[in-house]
């Protein structure tokens, strides 16, 4: 899918040391993590991240035995000022696009980047563009 970001997700048990193992594997492979979140459900969780080299991250984690998947998400440039998130959520909500989950990070260039997993990627891309919101793809993420 064009103009999206490849997010790396992996299954992890909810117990001490698991995150460290993931981070160590990526560190050794010299993969840089741009954004990162953990969702937990009792005994286990899903770690999601945006990295500078998703293919390398995927291969590294898979060869270490992790259950990994790649998911298309969209990256949205958000103004790092009050109301920045509201603008985006409002456009999507009005156009009936559901946000499954989201997480954000602030870049060094006074801009915030919002990572969105939505139920209809093409529709989200279309309505955000029409609203004048800039989307960020994998290439751009690896350059940050």
């Amino acid at each position: 899918m064009s103009n999206t970001i490849k997010q790396i997700s992996l299954f992890a048990e909810n117990k001490p040391g698991r995150l460290s193992k993931v981070a160590e594997a990526l560190s050794k492979a010299k993969v840089n993590i741009r954004a990162f979140t953990i969702a937990e459900a009792g005994d286990f969780g899903v770690i999601r991240m945006v990295v500078d080299d998703p293919d390398k991250a995927y291969k590294t984690l898979q060869s270490q035995g992790f259950a990994v998947s790649e998911t298309d998400v969209i990256g949205v440039e958000m103004k790092d000022v009050p109301g920045g998130l509201h603008e985006i959520a409002d456009v999507l909500g009005r156009n009936n696009v559901n946000i499954d989950y989201a997480y954000a990070f602030v870049t060094s260039t006074r801009l915030a980047l919002l990572i969105l997993r939505v139920d209809n990627i093409p529709q989200a891309q279309k309505v955000l563009k029409e609203a004048g919101v800039r989307l960020v793809d994998s290439k751009e993420v690896s350059r940050i």
Binding site: R18, D43, F44, Q62, G65, A67, S69
Partner: protein
């Protein structure tokens, strides 16, 4: 040379009445011999008020007292032997993980009988001269390796005496020496398949493997299906126990029960009070060894739960079959008053494609209440980014287990590769209850 259908066609297809005559004659001899040669059996018979001349027909076997594993332990090391030690050509010793070890001695005749039993069995699985059999059971004190080895050589196959462990080397040799069959535990074969995949080798497409002889731990039909489908081989169940002579019997090509050679072994199936069950009912297997010399066992309570089938098999063999071993009487867990066999849990899990073949069962007592946790590995293929899917999967497994066990369990998803892979018997049950 065409493959043999039978190792010994005459005896394997002998009429049941003839087999029963052989059994009755051998039983009378056996009772006589042990009464004369064994202090242990003489004492036991006297306690039970039975004399050798009381055993005239096969049905009289029920007059004889049972022998238990405890007897072998109590008579450690060789006090139950019925021949002088200078006639013993080999010892095997059980691992003793569940108690004191037990020692079994073999005369030359015992080894020959064991070898013949396996030659018949391996032939029934379609193996013979021209096959290359990789024996990946432990060699040494454990009976698996040497037992299979002798049987495989007897039928003229080429044997790779591999033993357990060093899995990558096992896969290399399987390819280089063109192994057509492997004998090991089902969990080890599954482990091997995983390692092969990691090495970039497909056992299905890049080896000559066509048959696996699997045993030494209970495994379900669903596990068999998974092994056969993913590896493109035929998987046959092999049965035996160290007290009798390790591996002895297998299924035939019909894969519908394990043939037990009636000219060497007499079978009964009993309930927990030691009373015979009706034909076709499940119960505990009881074996009398009719040919063993060094350590004959009379009405030995093996502890495995099975069903006996005396009907003639489609393959033409008349010898009785024991239907799949459903577990060991002492593997059974009683959770909130309900009997649970690990094999039942395995059967359920194997029908759920999202989970791997490895699992662990943990029994705990929380206050007054017993709780059962089943830990399963999420397969890489099944993992989606969605948390909700994983939570649904847990619920689905809990629901399926409840349908079969009639018991609520807690299912825990764990990462692939984190549950113990054993190279011998797998440690699938952890009972933390202090009762």
């Amino acid at each position: 040379m065409p493959m043999l259908d039978y190792w010994n066609s005459r005896i394997e297809r002998a009429p049941m009445e003839e087999l029963r005559e052989i059994q009755a004659r051998k039983l009378r001899q056996l009772v006589d011999t042990v009464y004369k040669s064994s202090h242990f059996y003489r004492k036991r018979f006297k306690e039970a008020g039975v004399r050798p001349e009381d055993v005239k027909t096969l049905d009289d076997v029920t007059k004889l007292p049972f022998t238990f594993k405890k007897d072998l332990r109590d008579n450690y090391p060789t006090n139950m032997f019925c021949v002088p030690l200078n006639q013993v050509v080999r010892f095997h010793v059980s691992s003793g993980t569940t108690g004191k070890p037990t020692v079994v001695g073999y005369t030359r005749g015992d080894i020959d009988c064991w070898t013949t039993s396996l030659a018949r069995a391996l032939t029934a699985c379609g193996l013979g001269r021209g096959d290359v059999i990789q024996v990946s059971y432990g060699y040494g004190l454990f009976t698996g390796g040497l037992g299979l080895h002798y049987g495989a050589e007897e039928i003229g196959a080429s044997v790779i005496p591999m033993g357990v462990g060093n899995t990558e080397r096992q896969i290399e040799l399987m390819q280089d020496l063109h192994a057509t069959a492997i004998a090991c535990t089902p969990s080890y074969l599954l482990h091997m398949n995983e390692v092969a995949k990691r090495m970039g080798i497909s056992i299905r497409d890049e080896t000559d493997l066509k048959i696996a002889i699997l045993g030494a731990e209970p495994w379900s039909l669903e596990t068999r299906r998974r092994i056969e489908d993913t590896m493109g081989i035929k998987a046959y169940d092999i049965y035996g126990t160290s007290e009798l002579s390790g591996p002895l019997f297998t299924e035939c090509k019909e894969q519908n029960g394990i043939h037990v050679w009636a000219d060497h072994f007499l079978l009964e199936v009993v309930d927990k009070n030691g009373e015979p069950v009706k034909e076709g009912q499940r119960g505990e297997l009881v074996v009398t060894t009719l040919s063993k010399e060094a350590l004959p066992l009379i009405r030995y309570r093996v502890g495995d739960i099975t069903i006996l089938n005396n009907e003639e098999c489609e393959c033409g063999r008349t010898h009785p079959r024991i239907m799949r071993i459903l577990g060991r009487a002492d593997d059974m867990l009683i959770i909130r008053g309900i009997n649970v066999f690990p094999s039942q849990i395995e059967s359920v899990l194997m029908t759920i494609p999202e989970v791997g073949e490895h699992f662990q069962i943990i029994a705990e007592r929380n206050g007054e209440l017993d709780e059962l946790t089943v830990r399963v590995e999420v397969t890489k293929a099944a993992f989606s980014d969605k948390l909700a899917d994983l939570m649904k999967l847990e619920k689905k497994i809990e629901y399926e287990l409840h349908k079969v066990l009639n018991l609520s369990t807690k299912v825990e998803l764990v990462e692939t590769g984190t549950l113990p892979r054993s190279q011998g018997k797998s440690q699938k049950v952890i009972d933390k209850r202090k009762i």
